[in-house]
Amino acid sequence: MLPFKLFLPESFEEAIQLMKEHSAKPISGGTAVTTLIKERIFQPTAIVNLRKLERDHSYIREMDGEIQIGALTTLRTIETSEIVKRDLPVVADCISKIASIRIRNVATIGGNLAHADPDLDLPPVLAGLDAHIDIIGEEGERSKNIKEFIQGYYETDLKEGELIKSIRIPVSSDRKGIYLKHRALSEADWPCVGVAAFMDNSPGSIPEVFINSVADTPIMRIEGIEEIFSDGITSELIDKVGELASEQCDPIGDSRGSVWYKRKMAGEFTIRALREVTGVGESLI
């Protein structure tokens, strides 16, 4: 790695100050950023390493109807948390599908979301659960829905000098969700395509589908599901939503599949996920 200055603040305030003073970029677990630095895609002159904030900002708390997770909490801590397994099983399941245990032991949820890679597994699930990102900056704190937080290809709503402080995920026993990850290469690879489908238990509710890896953001919502399911849900209509997913996505061809293949898989996995959450048609997983 090329040399860089590295600062080790112990609080968000100190970190924000250092980022400003040295035009430094933040790094949390570092499993993604270190790779970019090694490959010289990212050549920082100064880095603010947030690792020491772990002491105060690695936590999972039960709040009023939601679970708050500190930005420095590692993915493995979340995945193995009894609270998360009980109240947000789809989150625990999704995280267990990310990379390998030795990466999840280090990678943090704050770093994961701030990275905003279009292939990230978590954002479609957090979108389905309507999670909020709490942001801290020089001017104070603010909050943003995950769907507005991630804005494009590696782009978030974070302004210069802002950091993610925590993530709040509503808990609802009435909402059922599933995340299906299709890997084209190895078990711990990024998804070829990942589909999250969610649906409320209440009668007449319409499922929502979010897909990663097939657009410029990890949260591509399939539009037009309401019209298709307006008179009820049948497996023929689910197939139609699958076609819609194939049409609406805009993947790039790479080692995980051609554009044609990824479109096909986006449709197929949408059908599989919808059959699970709606209970309509035979299970395909």
Partner: protein
């Protein structure tokens, strides 16, 4: 605030295989570089360098970590276990049961991935002293071996677990 002036250099104190060490290191040093180049603990190997292959796996405070992606400054105040310290964790014997089992079952050929395999297997057995084939496959799924075809590794881990539970 002194280290902010010379922020490219950091003082760290840590333990490797039980030994306390304090040293000054550059900020851009990775843990595997620290182990191999500075401490000459060359048992830990670096394969892909991007956290995928599992060769460089070490334990930091008993958790498996890819040492090629971990900045060395992050081990300040922590305890690292590498393959050189593995045997000492088991009744101060010459070899850890995992090491003898890997030899008995031919759980390696070229040996490059073996330190990472052994360290990951130790972490597995610490958490789960009697793992099923499926547990072993899952835990070692991101330790890549291009020689053995994995079956002998799984048999070796099972046999080590048996020895340790006896």
């Amino acid at each position: 605030m002194n280290n902010y002036i010379e922020a490219t250099i950091h003082e760290i104190e840590f333990k490797v295989n039980g030994e306390e060490i304090s040293m000054t290191i550059p900020a851009n040093l990775t843990l595997v570089e620290l182990l191999r180049q500075e401490l000459r603990l060359t048992g830990t190997t670096e394969g892909c360098g991007v956290g995928v292959c599992g060769c460089c796996t070490v334990l930091i405070d008993n958790k498996v970590v890819a040492s090629c992606l971990e900045l060395a400054v992050n081990i300040d105040g922590k305890e690292v276990l590498t393959i050189e310290g593995l045997a000492d964790t088991y009744q101060l014997s010459e070899f850890h049961p995992l090491q003898t089992s890997f030899r008995e079952y031919e759980g390696f050929q070229c040996g490059y991935c073996t330190p990472g395999m052994l360290i990951s297997s130790k972490a597995l057995l610490d958490q789960n002293p009697d793992p099923s084939d499926e547990d072993i496959r899952e835990f070692l799924s991101e330790n890549i071996c291009r020689c053995t075809g994995y079956d002998s590794i799984i048999m070796a881990v099972k046999s080590a677990a048996k020895k340790m539970n006896a």
